[in-house]
């Protein structure tokens, strides 16, 4: 049975923890709003990009002039996985969910006799995947010092991927990130980057595909567009990740605050009970002392 003083100390410490988790929750909520805004601001670009891409891919068709980034190398022996996770923990199962998806995927590929290479974006994913596949990780990118993720950060990763592809280091590239559905739901997702899965042709209201005037020419534009599209996809993934991380952190911290509250209630109850017991005990001692006289 802990003494009264012990209980008092426990209550004080849980209260302090509760204050911290509450503050973290509020910080996460503020950051979440900003992250959501950033994700929304980026949406028009990626939407138009895929519309244009579908359009132009139709015009170029699948002939030999299509860039290799789109058609692929024709093999699927070497797989590159780009795993995007958060830089920090304390956000529930957010990081481990993404890592688990990537791990299952890797196991499946390895079992099928493929070669797997992994690029980790974000510290937490690296920490988790290092345990199982330390030898497969060829690169890691930390965005810890980046306050606000800009297109340039994504572009750097995109360039790295393209450079690897041009050197023939891999055949298929898959991006792992967490799609932001809502504050409480983040769905880990795998997206194939290379060869680019041609976006479903969007219904063209104008039906103007045939008479488009391309400058310089369709193939050249496509060659310019596809690398850019990879960066855009990575950028979108990073933004969704930030929003998802903040959402997960918010609900994790909300839970923690609530748990701390419950714990304080329980501790206060046993503290009061014990205090009462002590008072009763003292009273009995005094009364029985008086009776004995």
């Amino acid at each position: 049975m802990p003494s009264l003083k012990d209980l008092k100390n426990r209550i004080a410490s849980v209260k302090a923890t509760q204050k911290i988790t509450k503050a973290m929750k509020m910080v996460a909520a503020a950051k979440l709003r900003r992250a959501q805004e950033a994700a929304e601001a980026a949406r028009p670009y990626s939407q138009r990009m895929s519309a244009v891409l579908a359009n132009i891919a139709q015009a170029v068709g699948q002939d030999d002039s299509a860039p290799r980034l789109m058609t692929g190398t024709g093999k699927d022996q070497v797989h590159l996985l780009v795993v995007c996770t958060a830089e920090r923990g304390l956000c529930g199962g957010f990081n481990s969910q993404i890592a688990r998806l990537a791990r299952d995927h890797t196991r499946k590929l390895l079992a099928a006799g493929k070669t797997v290479k992994i690029i980790c974006v974000g510290k937490k994913g690296f920490d988790i995947l290092r345990r199982d596949f330390a030898s497969l990780i060829i690169d890691r990118i930390e965005l810890r010092d980046v306050k606000k993720i800009g297109f340039e950060n994504a572009d750097q990763i995109g360039r790295k991927v393209i450079a690897l592809f041009e050197k023939g280091e891999f055949d298929v590239c898959t991006l792992f990130y967490s799609e932001f559905k809502s504050v409480i739901a983040q769905v880990p997702t795998a997206l194939q980057l290379v060869p680019a899965s041609a976006p479903a042709a969007v219904e063209q209201v104008e039906g103007a595909t045939a008479i488009y005037d391309y400058e310089p020419d369709a193939a050249a534009i496509l060659g310019d567009l596809i690398p850019r599209n990879i960066s855009v996809q990575i950028f979108r993934a990073l933004l969704e990740n930030v929003a998802g991380e903040m959402g997960a952190k918010m609900s994790a911290m909300d839970n923690a605050t609530r748990n701390a509250g419950e714990m304080i209630n329980k501790l206060t109850l046993s503290y009061n009970r014990q205090r009462q017991a002590q008072i009763t005990k003292e009273l009995i001692e005094i009364i029985s002392g008086a009776e004995a006289l």
């Binding site: 601001a41 980026a42 028009p44 990009m49 994504a154 008479i211 488009y212 400058e215 310089p216 950028f235």
Partner: protein, 135 residues
């Protein structure tokens, strides 16, 4: 005949302009081009340069863009820029940084084609620097 059309300037980070305009000058890769209403459908890549937007009410705005492409239809024009800022918000340090980065890349470049691409990119950047940075 309509004299105005929809114009949108989008960068990956945000939607900068969206509205009715009467005239847009785009630094296309094959030379500057002016887009007006009922332009024939065209698609072009753009080089680093200045986009001049003349809004329907006659107000003129200028934006600095770094690469991207434009999708032109008779009813509207969408400019997807890799990076775009309003001329007033433009910082000369930004372009200097890009020039340095391009130079560094040029030194490492191997193939002729890559070297040629980088050199012309560098030339475009330097020209742009001459235009937007007051001497």
């Amino acid at each position: 005949m309509a004299t105005e059309f929809n114009f949108e300037l989008v960068s990956p980070e945000q939607l900068l302009v969206s509205g009715r305009v009467s005239e847009v000058v785009i630094p296309a890769s094959e030379g500057e081009m002016t887009v007006m209403a009922n332009h024939a459908p065209a698609m072009t890549t753009i080089k680093p340069g200045v986009v001049t937007v003349k809004a329907a009410d006659g107000k003129t705005d200028r934006y600095v863009v770094f690469g991207g492409f434009a999708d032109i239809l008779p009813t509207g024009c969408t400019l997807l820029a890799e990076s775009a800022v309003h001329v007033d918000d433009f910082k000369s340090a930004d372009i200097a940084r890009r020039i340095d980065a391009a130079r560094a890349e040029l030194e490492k470049a191997s193939g002729d084609e890559q070297r040629f691409g980088l050199e012309s990119y560098l030339a475009e950047l330097t020209t742009l620097q001459g235009i937007v940075v007051p001497a």
